[in-house]
Amino acid sequence: MDDIKARFSTEANELLELFERRLLELEKQGQSSEAVAEIFRVIHTIKGTASMFGFVNIGKLTHDVEDIYDLVREGHMTFDKELMDLSFKIVDIIRELLKTGDELSSDDEAKMSAILDTVHQRLQNREESGHHEIEDQNSEVAEQKAYYYIRYQPDKDVLERGIDPLVVFEELEEEGEFLAYLDLNLVPSLTHFEPDEFFLAWDIFFTGAANTELVDDVFMFFLSHEYQVQTFTLAEIESLPNFGDILKKLSLYQIDNNILVQNLIKLSKACDAGEDKEEPEPVVGESPEKSMVADATETIRVEASKLDELINLVSDLVTINGQLEMKSEQIADYQLEKQVMELSKLAKRFRDNALNLRLVPIELLAVKMQRLVRDLSNELGKKTDFITEGTNTELDKSIVSRLEGPVLHIIRNCIDHAIETPEERLRQNKPEQGVVRFIAFYSGGNVFIQIQDDGKGIDPERVKNKAIEKGLIHHGESLTNAEAYNLIFEPGFSTAEKVSNVSGRGVGLDSVRKEIADMRGQVDVESEVGLGTSFTIKLPLTLSIIDTLQTTIVGHTVLVPMEFIIKTERLNGGNSRHMSFEGEIIPIIDLHKLLDEKNELAKAPKVLIIKLYNRKYGITVDRIVRNHQAVVKPLGVYNRHHPFFSGSSIMGDGSLALILDINRLVKHQKEDIL
C-alpha cells in the first residue's frame, strides 16, 4: 500500500474506533444525539475520502449507509437492535477492506452485499411506511398545521401593469415553504398568442406563515380575484371546494391524492427544519469539532518508528555515558568526575522522558474488549456487563498492542466457560446479568491487569482429574489449589469438555502465558467455585530497560532479571539435582551444563534462588558481580528463538552480556527432562 493509502487507512481506523466506541455507548446508555451525530460524522468523513484514496468499495458501502444514519440523526429512525448489529458489521467490513487495501474476498463480498441488502430494505421500508408512520407520529402537528391553497392566476395585462408575476415566489419562499404547480391550460394556440399578454397560472400550496394576512401581503400588488386563498389542514384536504379540479390539473405532474399529501408533509417538515436550522445546526456541528481542537493542542501525531529511533539513540547515550563513567573513575579527576556525574543525571532523565513518550493508555484495548463481550454474549445467549477500571493506566505501546491477543483470549474464556446462562444464574440466586471486570493499576515498577468474572469459577478437583487424564501430573500427586490452577496454563490443557467455535481455536491458556512471558510478564489465576475467577497479569512498564543482576558463568557474562531473584545462596549439597532452601527441596537448573556441555559442576558455586509462578528453582552461577540496569537489545535474527536467552546488553566497558530469560529457561529445562 502506498503512503497516502496507508495514511488514510490509519485515520479511518481511528475513526472506526470512535464509531465503535459510540456504538457501544449507545447500546449501553440508550439514545444520545451526540453519539448519533458523531457516528454520522464518521461515516460521512470516511465516505467523503475513501473513493479519493482508491478505496472504491468502502466508498460504495458508506455512500448507502450514510443515509441510514442521517435518518437516525434527524430522528426519523430509531437505533434498534437490528441497526446496532448492522453497524457493528459495517465496522468490521470497513476494517477488513482497509486491511486488504480495498480487495474484496468472496466471503467479504457476500457480507457486504448482505449489509447493503439490509440497508436498502431499511430505507425502503421507511419509504413505504413513511407517510403512515409520520401521519401517526405527527398527526397532531401535521394535521393541525395550516396549509394555504392559492390559485394564482394573474390577469392577462399583469405585465402591462408593470408587475413581475414571479416576484411572489421569492416572497413566499421568505415566509415559508411552498409547492407551485404551473398550469398551462390557459396558454392559447400560437395563432391567438399575444407576446405582451400573460397566460400562466399556478396552483400553489404554501405553509409557514402564521395567518392569511401575511399571504395577502405577499400578493399585495395583485387584484383580489387574481389570487384565491383557502386555508386547510391535511385532514380536511379533500373537502377543499375545488379539490377534484386541482387533482385533475396535478395529474399532469403524475401527482395523486397520496403523493400530494406526502409532498405537503415534506413541505411542513422542510418548513420546521428551516425554522430550526438557524439556531441548532452550528451547535451540533460544533461539539465534536471543539473536542478535536482541544485534543489537537494536547497531542502531536508522531510515527511510532520515529519514537523507536529516539529510544535507540537514548539507549546508546546511556550506554556510552556508562563507559564514560568508568573511564572517569579510572582517571580520578575530581572536576571530570563531577561533570560526568551531571551528564549521567541528565542522560537518565532524558531516557526516562523518552521512554515516557512511548506510553499509551490501556484504554486503547477497551473498545475491542467491549465489542468482544457484546458479540460473544449475544452469540452464546448470555447476558454480560463489562466494566473497566483504570483504563488510563499507561503502558509501553508495544506491550499494549501485544497484550491484545492474550487479554481477548482470557475474556473469551470468561464468557464462554465461566459466565452461566441467564437461567442458570437465576437458579443460583445470582443476578441474571454476569459481570466481567477489567481492572488496570500500577504497583511498583509494574502494571497489573486483572480480569475478573462472577461466573462459576474453576473447580480445582476437576482441574486435577483433567491433568491426570492428560498425563500432566501423576495420580495421587498432592497439589495445592494454587498449583492446580497453574495447570490450566500447561500446553494441551483445556477444561472445556467440547470444543466450541468460540474458545476452542486450538490455542489454550498456555499461549496466553507464553505471550505474556515474552513481554517479561506473568499471568496467574485465582478462583472460587461458584463465585468467579480472577486472572492477574503482571507486566513491566517498558520492554527496553530491565533491572538485572550481573553474573559470570563459565566465562560468559549473564544478566539475570532481578524481579525473579529472591535470594542468593552457596550451593550446599555437592553435585546434586536438588537443594534445600528454607526447608523446601527445590530443583537446580545447572546453567554451567547448559552453557558448556563438557563442564562438570564446579565446586561450590553460588546459586540464585528464583521464583516463577510460585515455584522456586536454584540457578548455578560462578560469580555475582553487581546490579546492572540493562538496556535490552535483541539478540539478532539467528537467535530470536534462543532456548534461554532473550536479549543482550552493552556493558559499561563496551563488552556484551546476555540476558537470561527465566520463563524460557524453566520451560527448556522441563522439556529437556521430559
Partner: protein
C-alpha cells in the same frame, strides 16, 4: 544497456583457502575483530554477537554456513558487516573473514557460472566466478544466503531441536 554490460563493484575477501566476492552494495563496513561474544546453544555457524553502531549484530562463519569443511579454519581477523534487506525483513549481519583483498569493477559478462561439480557447497548461493590475476573469486549471492527462507529454516530447526 544490456545486462551483460552492467558493471559490478565486487569486494573480495579471503576465507581460509578460498577468495570470495560480494557486491559492495550489501556491505556496510569492515570491522577489525576485537572479540565476539559467543552465545551458547546457538547454530553452529553462529560465532556470537558484536556491537556495531549501538546495535547487536550476529557474527557468522561462512565456512560453516556454506559447508566449506575442507577449508582451513578462518582466523576471523576481520568482520564484514552486511545489510540485508528484502520485502519481508531487513537486518545487519557480520561475517568472519581472514582479510579483505580488493574492490574490483567487474562487468557482468566476466562473471561466469560455476560448474556444480567443482564445488562442495550449495550452488544456489553462488552468483558465479571471475578471475583476478592468479586467483579465482567466487561471487556469493548475499540476498539468497540471508533470505527469509533460509532464516525460516533456522527457526524451524531450533524449534525442532527443542522438541
Amino acid at each position: 544497456m544490456t545486462q551483460n554490460d552492467q558493471i559490478f563493484s565486487i569486494l573480495s575477501f579471503q576465507l581460509g583457502d578460498e577468495v570470495f566476492g560480494v557486491n559492495v552494495t550489501n556491505v556496510l563496513e569492515v570491522l577489525h575483530n576485537k572479540g565476539v561474544t559467543p552465545i551458547p546453544r546457538s547454530e553452529t555457524f553462529v560465532r556470537g554477537i558484536v556491537q556495531f553502531r549501538g546495535e547487536i549484530v550476529t557474527v557468522i562463519d561462512f565456512s560453516e554456513k556454506l559447508n566449506l569443511h575442507n577449508n582451513s579454519p578462518t582466523s576471523g581477523k576481520v568482520i564484514v558487516v552486511f545489510y540485508v534487506q528484502s520485502n519481508a525483513h531487513s537486518f545487519k549481519v557480520g561475517v568472519l573473514a581472514d582479510d579483505v583483498k580488493a574492490v574490483d569493477q567487474i562487468p557482468a559478462a566476466k562473471i561466469q557460472p560455476v560448474e556444480e561439480m567443482n564445488h562442495y557447497f550449495n550452488p544456489e548461493f553462488l552468483k558465479g566466478v571471475y578471475q583476478r590475476n592468479s586467483e579465482f573469486v567466487i561471487v556469493l549471492d548475499i540476498d539468497k544466503i540471508f533470505s527469509e527462507k533460509e532464516i525460516q529454516l533456522i527457526k524451524q530447526s531450533t524449534t525442532n531441536e527443542k522438541k
